[in-house]
């Protein structure tokens, strides 16, 4: 694993009115690494990924991608850099089939006429490369898929555009045991293929099965980065509930007036 980070956030801050959602947060992901992002509700996880995805503009701080400072003004900018976000609600169209969803908004076409054969072929190749074997036909509507299959389609959709960084927001929420295993295996495979992966989850068990490192956010601050092999669930839980900021001086470590929403 190379140590040069793929994505690096330096002292990122963002506030909504009087609420300080992010307070000088440092964060990094290396290529080929699954970095878990954990924290209690309101710790700032969603705000952080929205800053990276271009939905929110940070108030201050730097975003570095592949070593260069970037300014991300919208989802299109993020996609251009190779950053894809798989949101919790998946953003799939139930009435469309797998191929149609995979190419939604980026259909292969010539003079606006769809090239179905090329899209179907590419979809099969992408699913094969991710070893997603549970989907019977790529021409079945997404409405007929199970939760795990839907998650697999959403992830495959995100990675098929030569993306370099994939952000997964709670990919295993609402999944059964077997399907959770499927999706976690898929997440590990993304890392093995050299992508940077940010995994947001409440489920520490999932995280300890997949992540290489774990960043803990608490009340808008980063309170620690843990190597998965060198830590325990208990240490991470402690950081989530009572972690102290690692670098900021002069600000009380417990909850200040600026409790993040």
């Amino acid at each position: 694993m190379s140590d040069a980070p793929l994505l690096q956030l330096r002292s990122l801050s963002k506030s909504f009115g009087s609420v300080q959602a992010l307070n000088e947060v440092d964060f990094e992901v290396r290529p080929g690494e699954v970095m878990a992002l954990v924290g209690d509700n309101g710790a700032g996880k969603s705000t952080l990924i929205k800053c990276v995805a271009g939905t929110h503009a940070p108030d201050s701080g730097q975003i570095l991608f592949e070593g260069k400072e970037v300014h991300i003004h919208g989802p299109k900018d993020a996609a251009q850099l190779g950053i894809e976000v798989v949101y919790q609600d998946l953003a799939l169209c139930d009435n469309l089939d797998v191929v149609q969803n995979m190419f939604l908004g980026r259909e292969t076409n010539r003079f606006q006429i769809l090239n179905e054969a090329a899209m179907e072929f590419q979809t099969q190749e992408t699913l094969k490369s991710l070893a997603v074997t549970t989907i019977k036909s790529v021409r079945q509507p997404v409405a007929t898929l199970s939760g795990g299959q839907r998650q697999s389609v959403a992830v495959a959709k995100a990675v098929q555009w030569n993306s370099k960084l994939v952000i997964l927001d709670e990919p295993t929420a609402a999944l059964g045991v077997a399907q959770t295993e499927q999706v976690l295996a898929l997440v590990r495979r993304l890392g093995e293929q050299g992508l940077g992966v940010v995994l947001i989850s409440h489920n520490l068990h999932d995280i300890f099965e997949t992540a290489d490192r774990i960043t803990v956010l608490r009340l808008g601050r980063d309170v620690g980065i843990f190597e998965r092999r060198a830590t325990t669930q208990q240490a991470v839980v402690e950081a989530i509930t009572a972690g102290l900021p690692t670098k900021v001086a002069g600000i009380p470590s417990t909850a200040g007036p600026e409790t993040a929403a």
Partner: protein, 426 residues
């Protein structure tokens, strides 16, 4: 762990992945039956109930009405339903978005009015009929675009915007025609849209071209998918469909050619050709273009479509433009039927018949589901029903009641089918 910084996701990993499961259904003729039976069992009836319904209606009227089963009535039927079907095509697109357009009935009237005004001899602005029709369609499409813009950019619900349109355009027609009464259309090109009949030979030629179109598209798709192992339609299914299309096309022309009014022999009416042309064009737009795909996407999940980078307001506006354009074309066909535009325009329950056609044809009111062919089948069923009841001299009241019952029955059947499908996990 080995690292390939920036490696793309479509690089196949070191462990050989298992191939995707192939379709398990048998091939050949057995496959066609297996697939059909599976579809019926799981409630995926497609257009089957409506086709059976149409056949039943034809048989019933064939036995009960004396002058239903005549070639002349057949061409009449085509002319009557062509306008409604044109409006229903536009309704399909609007419903696919999960929107509604209540203004199309009077937009059809505005289209007819513009055409009638522009062809008026001695008015100082008399235009060639074809030019007049093009201007009318463009103008009404623009009106649709304005209504759509209010929906897409301002965010007023389409029900309200087009209800306002319903009132406004009705008012415009009233203002224009209250004193004049009726504008007679004399331009032959405009009147041709409903009354022109092709010669017998030309009719058969058109039928032949139509029949060839389907197998040629299938062939083209096969060539395009060369070497990709993409599942293709079963040859037997293609053959069966081609035969079905041939029967319908040649049958229509043969019956139309058979018709005779006094001494003049009839033929394939131009309105049928116009209808089929727009049917194919709009099906192509819905199924094979980026725009059509985006219409389905926005109707299925507008938020997902927006996140995928689709310009959702643009899609909304364009759909209302289509709705306006098809309404205008339908209106012109209706006007040319009576060679005039009168205060009684649009005829009967045009708006409701058009929406009912699309809904009977399986287009969902909630967006994302339905096809253009559904509107055609629905319009044929409603047209046949109303024509047959008319030839039986049934009162208008009963015609409305029976149409309503058929609408209710079709949608109920569709709802049951959907529940079956869900239970079967499809």
């Amino acid at each position: 762990m080995t690292t390939e910084a920036g490696a793309s996701a479509d690089v196949v990993g070191p462990d050989q992945p298992k191939p995707l499961e192939e379709e398990e259904l048998p091939t050949g003729l057995a496959g066609v039956w297996a697939r059909t039976w599976l579809n019926i069992r799981t409630g995926n009836l497609g257009p089957l109930p409506i086709i059976i319904g149409e056949i039943a209606v034809v048989i019933i009227f064939g036995f009960t009405a004396t002058n239903f089963f005549t070639a002349v009535n057949f061409t009449n039927l085509i002319n009557e339903m062509a306008g409604t079907a044109m409006l229903a095509f536009g309704v399909v697109f609007v419903l696919l978005l999960g929107e509604i357009d209540l203004s199309i009935g009077y937009l059809a009237g505005i289209g007819a009015l513009i055409v009638a005004e522009l062809q008026l001899p001695g008015s100082g602005h008399q235009l060639n009929g074809i030019l007049a029709m093009l201007i009318a369609v463009a103008a009404v499409a623009l009106i649709g675009g304005v209504q759509g813009s209010i929906v897409a950019f301002v965010g007023v619900p389409s029900f309200v915007v087009t209800l306002a349109g319903f009132l406004i355009w009705q008012g415009v027609i009233l203002n224009k025609l209250e004193q004049r009464g009726t504008i007679i259309i004399q331009d032959r090109w405009i009147n041709y849209t409903d009354s022109y009949a092709f010669s017998h030979l030309a009719g058969y030629l058109i039928a032949a071209i139509l029949t060839l179109l389907y197998p040629l598209t299938v062939l083209y798709k096969r060539i395009a998918a060369r070497g990709t192992h993409i599942a293709q339609q079963n040859w037997w299914g293609v053959a069966a469909r081609t035969i079905g299309i041939a029967l319908a096309a040649f049958g229509t022309v043969a019956i139309a050619n058979h018709g005779k009014v006094i001494a003049t022999s009839l033929g394939l009416p131009l309105s049928a050709v116009i209808l089929v042309f727009f049917f194919i064009l709009l099906t192509f737009i819905a199924k094979s273009t980026t725009f059509g795909r985006h219409v389905y996407a926005v109707g299925g999940n507008a938020e997902a479509a927006r996140r995928a980078g689709i310009n959702v307001p643009r899609i909304r506006v364009l759909v209302f433009v289509i709705s306006g354009a098809t309404a205008a074309i339908g209106g012109i066909i209706f006007a040319s039927q009576v060679n005039s535009v009168a205060l009684t325009f649009p005829p009967g329950n045009l708006l409701l018949n058009a929406i009912a056609s699309a809904v009977i044809g399986g287009v969902s009111l909630f967006g994302g589901r339905g096809e253009v062919r559904g509107a055609l089948l629905g319009a044929v069923l409603i047209g046949t029903l109303q024509n047959g009841l008319n030839t039986l001299n049934v009162s208008n009241g009963w015609i409305y009641i029976i149409t309503g019952l058929v609408l209710l029955g079709a949608v109920t059947l569709d709802t049951f089918g959907r529940r079956l499908q869900q239970r079967a996990g499809r």
